[in-house]
């Protein structure tokens, strides 16, 4: 079975090569029976990668489920979050699976599959700080004025704060790790991200003096936060979108996505498919 697969893929490679030489690129990668997936690889527990480029996490599981369903092999490409959309547009990979929220702005650039998960966002702050005690959204957003707030570059979190907390001193980071180092060292007062990622920080030694603010900001609160997490697909690739939508809906319906979610988040954050 395996040998057979390799044989075909070899032939396909030759064909692909010929296709390339003929100048018709199309989606060469997808033609190989391989789905290349762009992911951040630095956003636990969604997407983590080690020094060898192996990707694990919830998104890696979703990707693997999807590939099995589509009968292709998965191939992960690790890429900084704010470079994912430009890279997808340049056809560096076929899809983005990286905890990416479906937003109106992003839809201008790329297509999304149906949503497969739902985010709940919040802030972390030092235990016992004034911020940590706040219990409603409006007070919270107002009290960010003049505060140093950490957020990851290019995320819905960043866009949300740019819009709703314009007087906050926003510090943007390429990776969550850098943000957490600065949070732990006291360079920033608070950080905004999704709960699962923040929980991951609180579980580390660095996070022992921090707590989540008791305010959950769901994506329904503000459209900049998007309509759930989806798979990003190039706009001209409608065929792939149809396939992925169908596969995802099946995977959500049969509980596979929910099971993966339980494994990584200890909660089901999968989003029912409409």
């Amino acid at each position: 079975m395996k040998i057979n697969k390799r044989g075909t893929s070899m032939k396909l490679k030759v064909l692909t090569l010929l296709a390339c030489l003929a100048g018709s690129m199309g989606s060469a990668l997808a033609a190989e029976g391989e789905l290349s997936i762009g992911t951040e690889g630095a956003y636990p527990p969604w997407s983590m990668s080690d020094a060898n480029g192996n990707v694990t996490g919830f998104d890696a599981d979703v990707g693997a489920l999807l590939c099995t369903k589509l009968g292709v092999t998965c191939h992960f490409v690790v890429q900084a979050f704010d470079g994912l959309i430009p890279a997808l547009k340049a056809k560096r990979f076929d899809v983005i699976i990286s905890g990416m929220s479906i937003t109106a702005d992003r839809k201008k650039e790329i297509n999304f599959s149906v949503g497969y998960a739902e985010l709940a966002n919040t802030f972390v702050a030092a235990k016992g700080s004034d911020l940590a005690a706040i219990t409603d959204v409006d007070t919270l957003l107002k009290s960010l004025d003049g505060k140093k707030v950490g957020v990851q570059a290019g995320t819905t979190h960043a866009h949300f704060l740019e819009k709703r907390a314009p007087n906050a001193d926003l510090k943007t980071y390429d990776t969550l790790d850098q943000m957490q180092i600065d949070l732990a060292s006291g360079r920033i007062d608070t950080a905004f991200a999704d709960k699962s990622a923040l929980q991951d920080f609180l579980d580390k030694p660095d996070g022992k003096n921090f707590q989540m603010v008791g305010v959950e900001i769901k994506s329904t609160f503000d459209p900049t936060l998007g309509e759930g997490i989806g798979v990003g697909i190039a706009q001209d690739n409608t065929e792939l979108k149809a396939k992925i939508d169908k596969a995802l809906c099946e995977l959500i319906a049969d509980g596979s996505v929910g099971k993966a979610s339980q494994k990584w988040f200890k909660a089901d954050i999968s989003r029912p498919c409409k």
Binding site: P86, E109, A158, E162, K171, T172, I181, D182, S185, G186
Partner: protein, 244 residues
């Protein structure tokens, strides 16, 4: 496109101001440090000249990005720094930290440039000044320094441009200067080429302005020579060699 320019230009101009401030402070500190290092290097005290030499080699032999990360993330981790109010004030803020790294970095290059300038001062002139009974300080102020700076100016102009370009690395430690804002705009609009092109033009404008200023100073200093054809765009690239 017009919309994009209307959106991007005001934001990037905010960044331009930060870039200018970062450059100005770094150069101010860096020049004085560099002058001090150049004098140390030329002193007969072996400890002083040795220190200046190692300083210069270390800072010129490692990438500015590594220096910036080492200062910002590396030093920020040490409790020694965190417990000291002054040091923590310096390191805790991205902009201050960037200025620190840029100033120490440019000081190394400046010291090499000024050393070259000081060495080019003819011994006869210094001896003549000595014979006239000028004190050491006066000699330096009136004879050696003016001649050295005239010699060093074209190379120093190049170094200034490198400092301007170096400030872009501050964006990697959360400072919002031109490049930092450009990256933020990019993730909002995805108009990658246009945004970075506008940002690039802003840098070019700063650098052309700097070249203009340096040339004007040069002309002023060289006013005794009728046809000076000494160009800023000196053939050798600005970052001079390690250990030379």
């Amino acid at each position: 496109m017009i919309d994009l320019i209307q959106l991007a230009v005001p934001v990037l101009l905010k960044g331009l101001w930060v870039t200018a401030v970062l450059t100005f402070i770094s150069v101010l500190i860096g020049f004085n440090l560099g002058l001090g290092l150049a004098l140390m290097r030329l002193s007969s005290n072996r400890f002083l000249s040795g220190f200046a030499k190692y300083y210069s080699n270390v800072f010129r032999g490692t990438p500015l990005l590594v220096q910036i990360f080492l200062f910002y993330y590396g030093l920020g981790q040490l409790s020694l720094i965190k417990d000291n109010a002054v040091l923590w004030w310096l390191i805790s803020d991205g902009a201050r930290c960037a200025v620190l790294a840029l100033a120490l970095n440019t000081a190394a290059y400046t010291s090499e440039i000024l050393r070259g300038g000081l060495m080019s001062v003819p011994v006869g002139l210094v001896e003549a000044a000595q014979a006239c009974g000028m004190s050491r300080m006066l000699r330096f102020r009136r004879i050696e320094f003016p001649l050295a700076i005239r010699q060093a100016l074209p190379a120093y102009g190049n170094e200034l441009i490198l400092v301007v370009k170096g400030t872009s690395l501050a964006s990697t430690i959360t400072v919002l200067e031109i490049t930092g804002y450009a990256k933020r705009l990019m993730s909002q609009t995805f108009a990658i080429f246009e945004i970075f092109a506008i940002a690039g033009v802003l840098y070019l404008v700063i650098n052309l302005l700097l070249i203009g200023i340096i040339r004007a100073i040069e002309r002023f200093l060289m006013r005794h020579e009728t046809s000076s054809v000494r160009y800023l765009a000196a053939p050798q690239p600005n970052r001079s060699t390690v250990g030379s």
